[in-house]
Every structure is written in structure tokens, then in C-alpha cells.
């Protein structure tokens, strides 16, 4: 099952990943991470992720550490 793994403490909340996800599966978190940022979360209740890895390719901080297809 395609999914991504996010290391939320690497996320600096640039939100570039949210803009590139073709399915809109990445959302702003409601809590603050170790860097003092509202990090992003992977929300895929309907298993829509296709494992395209565009989010990981875009992320400048390697906060998306794994993409499974």
C-alpha cells in the first residue's frame, strides 16, 4: 500500500509538499514540532496515495524520509 513517512521534526513548514501532492494528502498539523513549526502530516484515509514521491522530491529538508509504492 503506497504511503509516505514523515519525520515531523525535520519539517520547517515550507508547505511546498502540500502544493505538489496530486491527491492533496498532506496537511498542516495542529501541533507544534521540535523546531517550533506547525509541521505537515500525511492524511490518507481512503488509500489514495500513488507513491509518486513528488512530495519527497520537492521537500528541501528531507522531512519525508520514505516513500513506499
Amino acid at each position: 500500500m503506497a504511503h509516505i513517512v514523515i519525520d515531523e521534526n525535520r519539517c520547517k513548514s515550507c508547505y511546498l509538499c502540500m502544493a505538489v501532492c496530486p491527491k492533496g494528502l498532506i496537511k498542516k498539523s495542529t501541533h507544534i514540532n521540535n523546531l517550533g513549526e506547525y509541521a505537515v502530516e500525511f492524511c490518507d484515509p481512503n488509500n489514495e496515495c500513488v507513491g509518486c514521491a513528488m512530495c519527497a522530491t520537492r521537500c528541501p529538508d528531507l522531512a519525508i524520509t520514505e516513500v513506499h509504492k
Binding site: 520547517k12 522530491t57 528541501p60
Partner: protein
């Protein structure tokens, strides 16, 4: 199936010190991915430079030497001449490569040193807080061009990839951008080519990467990528300016 993971060439506990949305992070990751994929880790000597780029040696688990400001290509020349079987890479900003270090950069390319240079062009001096640099666009406001760059006071920006392509020792010179996912993939392909020409002993490999500095541009990361597309690419068109393997 795992289709993406953090490259093995990164240190286990690395912490990027770059600002939010800075494309340095992407550029370094692409380099690390290629070092992994091409099996170069155990044979690489990295030459970093001065500016935000210097911090690269804190993230990658490679043998590294820090060059004085602008001298990365001279230091890399020394490394390569002493150990010709090593894979030698420089990672520099545009101020380092094309302002203070222009002589070292061009002469290394003229000698055709078998090294690869990656240059981040973000049209400003990032680490010191956004001053006018060699690639600052006409009209661009920086902390040392408060009324915008004009010809009378500051002269013109340099087109680095085109200049390096003019050097006879250059095997590959390209300009890429990191503004979109497809362009990031193209950037990786170009860096790979610049690695390969060194491995084949064809001469200097060079890639100029159009990059963002959201903090000093006073923009959001998204706006910064729009600026790369709408302003930088007009003056610095992406493309392959020299590739001896295609000639």
C-alpha cells in the same frame, strides 16, 4: 516497494541549518542520491566553500575539505592532482564561484581539471544577509543595492554556465532549476552528467543551479520559486551549454 529514502551518504543525525524553503537542501540531496546510486561514497573528496554552502560537510558522511572563500576549484585541483583516482567535487555559491573565485573557477575549467563543480545561483549573498552579488539581477533590491541594481553603479550580472562553457577544458556545462518537480529531476540528470564526464576523464563538469533564498528575498518558498520562473530564468535560461559527449 520503497521508492524513496534518505540517501545513505547523509550522516545519521544530520540537521539542515538552512532556512525554511531553501533549495540548498534539495541540491545537496540530489548530490547525495547520485553519490549513492553511482557508488562514489568511498572514493569521493568533497571541497566545500564559504557561505551557506560550507555547511554541506556537516550533513554528508564524506571526506571533506573546506576551501577559503572562492578557492574551491584551486583546492579541488590540488586534491585531484595529488589523487587522480578520487572523485572530486566542489559545492559553491555564485559569489564564491563567480565573484571572488572567478579566476580559480575559470582557470580550472581552462585547464580541464577532471573535477565536478556545482554552483548554487540565488542572486545574492545569503549567509551575510542578502547583499548584491555577481548574479544579482538588474533592478533587484538587496541590502547593498537599496535602489535596485543599475548599470551605472553596479554593472551587469554574470551568466556563469555560458562563461564556463566557453572554456576549452570544460566537458559539460549546464544550468538547471529546482523550481518544480520535473525541473528537479532534470537537475539531477545534469548533475549526473557532470559526474560522469569526470569519471570518464573528459574534463571539467559544471552545473549552475538556479536556487532560492526566501529569507533574503523576503518571500514565501512558493513565491521564491515563482521568482525563479518569472525573473531569473529570463536572464539565466536553463539549458545545456556544452556537452562534449554529444559533440
Amino acid at each position: 516497494m520503497l521508492v524513496f529514502e534518505t540517501p545513505k551518504s547523509f550522516k545519521k543525525d544530520f540537521k539542515y541549518s538552512f532556512c525554511k524553503g531553501c533549495d540548498h537542501g534539495v541540491a545537496i540531496r540530489l548530490i547525495a542520491e547520485l553519490i549513492d546510486e553511482m557508488g562514489l561514497k568511498g572514493n569521493t573528496i568533497l571541497t566545500t566553500s564559504i557561505g551557506c554552502s560550507v555547511t554541506m560537510y556537516d550533513f554528508l558522511d564524506l571526506d571533506c575539505i573546506e576551501a577559503p572563500h572562492g578557492r574551491a576549484m584551486a583546492v579541488a585541483t590540488g586534491v585531484k592532482r595529488a589523487k587522480p583516482d578520487k572523485f572530486v567535487l566542489t559545492y559553491q555559491g555564485d559569489g564564491d564561484f563567480a565573484s571572488i573565485g572567478l579566476a580559480e573557477s575559470m582557470h580550472a575549467a581552462l585547464r580541464g581539471e577532471n573535477v565536478t563543480a556545482i554552483c548554487i545561483n540565488n542572486t545574492t549573498y545569503g549567509m551575510t544577509g542578502g547583499q548584491l552579488g555577481p548574479t544579482t539581477l538588474m533592478g533587484q533590491v538587496t541590502t547593498t543595492s537599496p535602489n535596485g541594481r543599475n548599470r551605472e553603479y553596479y554593472g551587469y550580472p554574470i551568466r556563469i554556465a555560458e562563461q564556463i562553457a566557453l572554456c576549452d577544458g570544460t566537458a559539460y556545462s549546464a544550468r538547471v532549476s529546482l523550481d518544480t518537480v520535473p525541473n528537479i529531476k532534470k537537475a539531477k540528470a545534469a548533475i549526473k552528467k557532470a559526474f560522469e564526464v569526470q569519471l570518464k576523464g573528459l574534463g571539467t563538469g559544471f552545473v549552475e543551479i538556479l536556487s532560492t533564498c526566501p529569507t533574503n528575498w523576503n518571500m514565501t518558498p512558493e513565491q521564491a520559486h515563482e521568482r525563479v520562473r518569472n525573473e531569473m530564468m529570463k536572464v539565466f535560461p536553463p539549458g545545456i551549454y556544452k556537452d562534449v559527449t554529444e559533440e
